[in-house]
Amino acid sequence: MGCGVTKSTQLQLKPCNRGNISVPAATAMRAALLIQRWYRQYVARLEMRRRCTWNIFQSIEYSGQQDHIKLYNFFGYLMDHFSSANSQRNLVSHMFGDSDLFLDMEWERHVCYKEIEVPDIYTGPHLFFPLTISNVTELVDAFKNKQKLHARYVLQLLGKTWTLLRLMPNISHVCTCKHKEITICGDLHGHLEDLLLIFYKNGFPSAETPYVFNGDFVDRGKESIEILLVLFAFLLLYPHDVHLNRGNHEDHIVNLRYGFTKEVLGKYQVHGKMILKLLQKIFSWLPLATVIDQKVLILHGGISDKTDLNVIAKLERHRFVSALRPLKRRGASARQKDAALEPDGDDELSAGRRRVQSLTHGTPLRFRPEFPRHSVHSESGRTGRSVEQELRERRRLAGLSLSSDSDPAQVLETDADEWKQIVDVLWSDPMSQNGCVPNEVRGGGCYWGPDVSQEVLDRHKLQLLIRSHECKQEGYEFCHNGRVLTIFSASNYYDVGSNRGAYIRLGPDLIPHFKQFQSSRSTRELTLRQSVGRTELSALQALRMQLFTHKSALIHEFQEYDPQCTGVISVKHWAAAVEKVLRLGLPWRVLRSQLVTSSTQDGQGTLDYHHWVNQLSVIQPSTEIANTSLLETLYKHHSNLESIFRMIDTDHSGLISFEEFRQTWKLLSSHLQMDISDKAISDLAESIDFNKDGSIDINEFMEAFRLVEHSRAETEAPPSPE
């Protein structure tokens, strides 16, 4: 089955020529039964452990994602509720304003790769346009050898890709009419090795071997840009046979947090920002779905009960640069700045959480007409109006009739519909119960049930939905009575050995055939037991880190259960407290034995919590910070912090000024509703010592807070399987 497909050993079974003593049949049967029963039980327990491990990784992942969206929504909230005199708003405003600054025409001028010279010492691959197959194979080989493509060629390639994508419809229609089999791949997430493995097993894309890549090419893995370049190169070579669907990670806002932005800036220090800007455009121009033979729908996330392919086919997809951000208003006057649609209810600070819900679902919309500050219309008149009232009011003001096309309010309503269609397509997940509810775990899209699959697919006369977006142990998984298929192509996604990747071959009979794989030789050779053990250790490590960052909150919770300050609480209370603080929805009591050593608990089911919390502190930052509680805060929110930094650093220089840094803290502390004093911040600045030129290198700063495992942690961990 080719390299590394299954973990089974192909044994040569010799004929059995054992001696003359044979085992009586009845005895043999009893023995066999016993061994079988025992082994199956063993495998079940292993599966339980694997599942627990999986849940750990997944809940940490989704909680991070949800966190990110909350943060982003918070900025939106700032934008809408604070006047432009507010410095925080200013800081944030250019994040929202920026990407539409460049009109398409300007870009043609702006992206001038021709001025970039390729020096003679450059040993990487050269690209010549129009591309040939040998050029592209050269490119792939170069990447295999860890070479980098020169920025000039990158920009040239991206420019041509952009030009091509603009010609494509929102939904590509493909047929298997020439008895071709189509190959469909799921999330790649920067795992170049997996892509290369797929090409090795299945062949390069060509007229005979058409491919659909179903989104999430970037983020997390370290070779995202290489994957993009390879996919785009093949797209340019075979525009009719390579189909790319947009994923939720093809989004510059998401990239800020999940590593793609950092990767590009790291690899292309001079031209990185231009590359990123161009990619923003390209992402927005990626098609949203592919349909095969009018029967099989392929899109990245999923659907909702409101999904309508006709609406999707007609909208202007490139206007939705980020799926996290609703559109700016069209036809607005010059004075009206970026009033994002505000799908929210009240002005409370808890709007942060509420927004998470309403990013996706049909809560009443509220439009805030953007009047200049000295206008007659006061703020107070606008609160508490419903959508209909608002629309009516605006129409009245504009003196327009209901059915007018140029009605800005109506345009807004269409925008909101379209936005929801896109968010649902990119972010939703299937669930097993009927219905359709907002996807609060991720913070975007819906959870949709089998009834919705049936209704939507039947309505469009489709028979199968192929989607990605969720990591699956075996690389693929059916659900909804076989009408929905998840395909995921990044093997070892959570950690080495966590899962296989897979791809689909689909012929004219439209019956999917699966090929699985797992990159990295060493994991292929692990037995089930070994790979479970390994991934488990790593998940527990990740979990311990999460616990560590919430130390103070945990102690506080424990103390609630220990009014007499005995220092000891029951295991039941321990579990309840941990869940309350971390909110990961994990079975803490089951995990207890892995997280609590025997020294911290006695036989009576109680726990010395101070001791336990101290045991967690086996991790420390690679720098000495005097203020340890600030340090804890820093580490806990470092992802958010980094996101904010990168958002502020709009010219992608990797540097922000001290003032911006201070403002970042202010922002973060208001988002978290925490108090961080100015003094604490300047103390921090001193410890880090970046007074040299008044600016802070983001990467250096984040590096300072990278946590380093004590060697003690290793010796404490249970002995690894082999």
Partner: protein, 189 residues
Amino acid sequence: MKYEQEEQVMSGLSGDARRVKSLCFVKFAEILLLESIITETQKRISNAFDVFDHECNKTVDVREIGTIILSLGCFPSEAELHDIIAELEDEEPAGFVRYEKFLPTMTKILLEHKFRPITEDLLLQAFKVLDPQKNGHLEPEELTKYLTQEGESFTQEEIDEMLSAAVDPDKNVILYKDFVSMMTFDDTR
């Protein structure tokens, strides 16, 4: 308070009556103990169930029930497992099992110790039985033959997986004593 009253009553009773009373005490203590065992057992069941309850709505896909039951420490045969699952499914099987049905069934199974555990010794015994010449090892093809043709046969996948862990790569035999020790070591984790 109850105890004090009992004490008073006790001191005024005759010998026989006192013996009966102490038996009652013992029974009472046993009941308390049993209650706590039941609670602990039910907690274990609940935790195991939750791991597979992906939508947090107290239902689990029926295909995962077998795993849950086995992971709770019992050793039913495949046939027995099928019976349990049949009992757990709804009148109109919808592909999932609900917690309110699972809990009482599973509690009974665990408390009755219905499916006795297979200890390390017992397991080792089973292997030894298949090795009448007492070589201390088994050939892979022999074991394969037994496990795929006898009893409740292994699937190809099951035997492949077991052999990948059991076969000593140098000697190409199954040193079953080592194998059993290694596998049962995991129980201590």
